[in-house]
Symmetry: C2
Subunit: 352 residues, 2 copies
């Protein structure tokens, strides 16, 4: 499976999920204010993310010989999760851009955007309830339970990050960072999508099912950490036209990344204080000069290379766990196995 | 059933629901940031609302000969709904106080409060999923579906109100107001609690069940409208120590109420413009003098009496529909019938 094939597969999946989502979300209301709500709810889903989380779920379902059509609603709901939580994250993080366009709260104000996020959140559960006819009541509930776990972890991770920012806390260890990333990113990007794929496959009736569900937590943790670190690296190094988000936005937002944590351990206390002071300023008071200075320090101290190395350690570990989880599976689908592996490699070596 | 008995019953129900909620919500984490999240999630539930919505659900379940214990988780989840959505509403409406204490975002900042609301929202669904053992998969899903309907309506109503505020739109008819209130308040305060009670009772197996579910929408709409109008009246007339929220807060927030809509239709265009201008000012620029002047106009034009009259029309209609829905029910529980009736009367004639 080469990158072109992989991107084609992702594109196909995305279209299927987009259709399911945009078909499901309400379109028109006679009340103009409600019409605006519907428009806001359809905004992020229409901007076209990559559909990575939903695709991961579809692949893991097929990998264990499940039917893609049985996982489609759930995969689309994972994308809805991503969309509603990004509306709120963008407010919480003070992000200005999302997928190349102004963040929703910048278009409509914070008040309406919080409410639109809540409404879209509700739609996620409603969409998941439509699993009932095709999958039966019990599987529908198993899927819902996984979503509640995913949401618990994600909001706990977000809380850690927000609390660091609001308390101006830069006294963060690598371990703190990894726990935050596991909760904030790994669960909804990797762990739950894969677990849901397995839940929706015939392997959910195997005796090894509970053990595999557990193993996926470790696998997805390493994969998610690698994915997030690479995302943080890209924020400093990527080509803005391909990246979609704001380049250097993490520095302007004062986001805690492995790169900065590494840098801060390497600096003498004078420089350390200056960097912390610069990062701590409110976004609008940060000068481009400060940011360029910090970026230069990051390069000088090899913090980007360090982060890349840590990412590789975690992605290697994830690959080994993937081999272990998928080995000895009589039902394993060989073509999907190759595709899944290609996706895992892609996730941990992106250069867009 | 006199008021004392009724308040005792509400108190008993509230204790049962509080126990279920505080038992369920997470308490301690080794990570101090997550500990703070847990504390924030437990904050509003610990402040002690009246538990009206949960009690309504319990009563309607018993009214149709259901078991209170079968409805307890669902009733507690209705209270959780109220709690998480109030966290977000308080941000969206710029409210400063909630149940006699500072609003959550005033204690911890908007960012953490949005996230804590999302986390508590997730806990609501997780709590509802615990219905599975006692009620079975199908009833659990029926209850979840009602919650998604309730959330759709509530966020649509909130959107209407927020859009009016953000666009500075005072060109609102009584019909617009009633639609907003039905969506924003009647669904989660009256319609869904009663429907859920019925869903959790043995009457859900009767042939008349779908018809009753529909009738409750009309009943609960009238009840909810009466309830909300009385709430708006109380905001201008109540004793702050009993009321819990901020007296005259609606005027400071520029909230659209039937009282103001009535007043604006009665004013000459000069005064009308002045009132709209005063209401439109940002909260912190509103002078106490302006607010007192508007309050005097409201009194002079009989707008409070008008609102009370409209409330009575709707509560009378709700009572008639209640008689209709509960008539000819062989299974009807007579003591609970009296209690429910007393609660309906209490809701539409509060003076606290």
């Amino acid at each position: 499976v080469d990158t072109q094939n992989l991107l084609g597969m992702l594109q196909t999946n995305r279209q299927l999920m987009d259709e399911a989502i945009l078909e499901f979300l309400p379109k028109n209301s006679d009340t103009k204010e409600i019409n605006l709500l519907y428009e806001m709810m359809r905004d992020y889903p229409s901007r076209g993310g990559k559909g990575l989380r939903g695709s991961m779920c579809l692949l893991w379902c097929e990998l264990f010989s499940g039917q893609k059509r049985n996982a489609l609603i759930t995969a689309a709901s994972l994308e809805l999760f991503q969309n509603w939580i990004l509306i709120h994250d963008d407010i919480e993080d003070g992000s200005e851009m999302r997928r190349g366009l102004p963040a929703l709260h910048r278009k409509h104000g914070v008040e309406l955007a919080i409410n639109a996020g809540d409404s879209l959140h509700g739609k996620m559960w409603e969409l998941l309830l439509t699993n009932r006819n095709a999958l039966g009541a019990n599987t529908t509930l198993d899927v819902l339970l996984e979503f509640t776990r995913m949401l618990n972890e994600t909001t706990e991770g977000q809380q850690m990050e927000l609390a660091w920012t609001s308390r101006n806390d830069w006294n963060i260890s690598e371990g703190d960072y990894l726990l935050m990333v596991t909760k904030k990113a790994a669960w909804y990007t990797c762990i739950s999508p894969c677990r849901l794929g397995l839940i929706l496959s015939p392997s959910s009736r195997d005796s090894s099912f509970p053990e595999k569900l557990e193993q996926i937590i470790e696998f997805g943790t390493h994969l998610g950490i690698a994915f997030q670190i690479i995302d943080d690296v890209l924020n400093l190094t990527a080509d803005e036209s391909k990246y979609g988000k704001e380049i250097l936005g993490d520095l302007y937002e004062g986001k805690r990344t492995l790169i900065l944590i590494h840098l801060l351990t390497r600096l003498q206390s004078g420089d350390r204080e200056k960097v912390v002071e610069a990062l701590t300023k409110p976004r609008q008071s940060k000068s481009d000069r400060d940011i360029r200075w910090i970026l230069q320090l990051i390069r000088d101290h090899g913090s980007i290379d360090y982060a890349r190395k840590v990412a590789i350690t975690h992605s290697d570990r994830a690959m080994k766990l993937f081999e272990m989880i998928s080995s000895g599976q009589s039902r394993l689908h060989p073509k999907v196995y190759d595709e899944t592996k290609a996706l895992l490699e892609y996730l941990t070596s992106r250069d867009y």
